[in-house]
Point group: C2
Chain length 134, copies 2
Amino acid sequence: MNPAEVLQRHHLKRTSCREGILDVIMRSDKAMSENEIREKLAGNYDRTTFYRSFKTLEESRILHRIVVDHLNVRYAIDPAVNSNPLHAHFYCEACNEVKCMEMIPVAVPVLPKGYTANETEVIIKGVCHHCQDK
Amino acid sequence: MNPAEVLQRHHLKRTSCREGILDVIMRSDKAMSENEIREKLAGNYDRTTFYRSFKTLEESRILHRIVVDHLNVRYAIDPAVNSNPLHAHFYCEACNEVKCMEMIPVAVPVLPKGYTANETEVIIKGVCHHCQDK
DNA sequence: ATTTAAATGCAACAATGATGCAAATGTAAA
DNA sequence: TTTACATTTGCATCATTGTTGCATTTAAAT
């Protein structure tokens, strides 16, 4: 599945910014920050446009935003796009990278009566196997 | 256990800002934002002091910071202080409040070889029982 | 090719958070 | 109780993420 296809499927206009962002993210095996994405992007877009693209893509459940911390926001393809299972995210405190942990599924929470869940985010913070042996 | 005791136990100076923050948080049954805490606080402190207090208290594992979103940061007593179990947090998208879900424990994650976990955060977003029937 | 709703760029702004430095304060020792 | 010193505080300044309004440009349907 390519970026253009994804956009059409979700009834979004095929703009170069959106296609570029999706192209970069879909090629990556990790969740990426705004700057990481911008660096790999061909075009040069205004910051506002960038954010609005992220917002639109997130609202359409194409991208998933992982907020590790105030200054550590990452984007990845939403599991719904690949019909992948919901999974936890691992944040390495050493290399600052966020990895999707497909082998750690996120269970649907059993909430007290009257509560409704829309989304569950699991973020595991620690040290990844690359940074471990150093 | 009172604020002064907690500070001494962790070898932190008893400053009025720290004691005030702890006093407010320990009386509350929900995780509170910086502004919520400031409103309930007697003294009037500089924003920097406030943040440094939060940081110190967090580093000493007295407070726990829950980052719901870029503009939604909350603080609660760290489970370690009360020797409570690690638990999930529920963020109500309607009333904007964060509740500690003691009945939903956070499991120690089983990670691939080479990974080490220091902390796991589970945030469930949805609608709470107060906002449900409206 | 024309039309129109949507997307973009620009400027301005808000909130959280960090840092450097001088002044004030808590605490341990005399 | 007073003194001494390390710690904390307040202030100024700056970085980053994110938002909004408005004029201009663009995608895509006719």
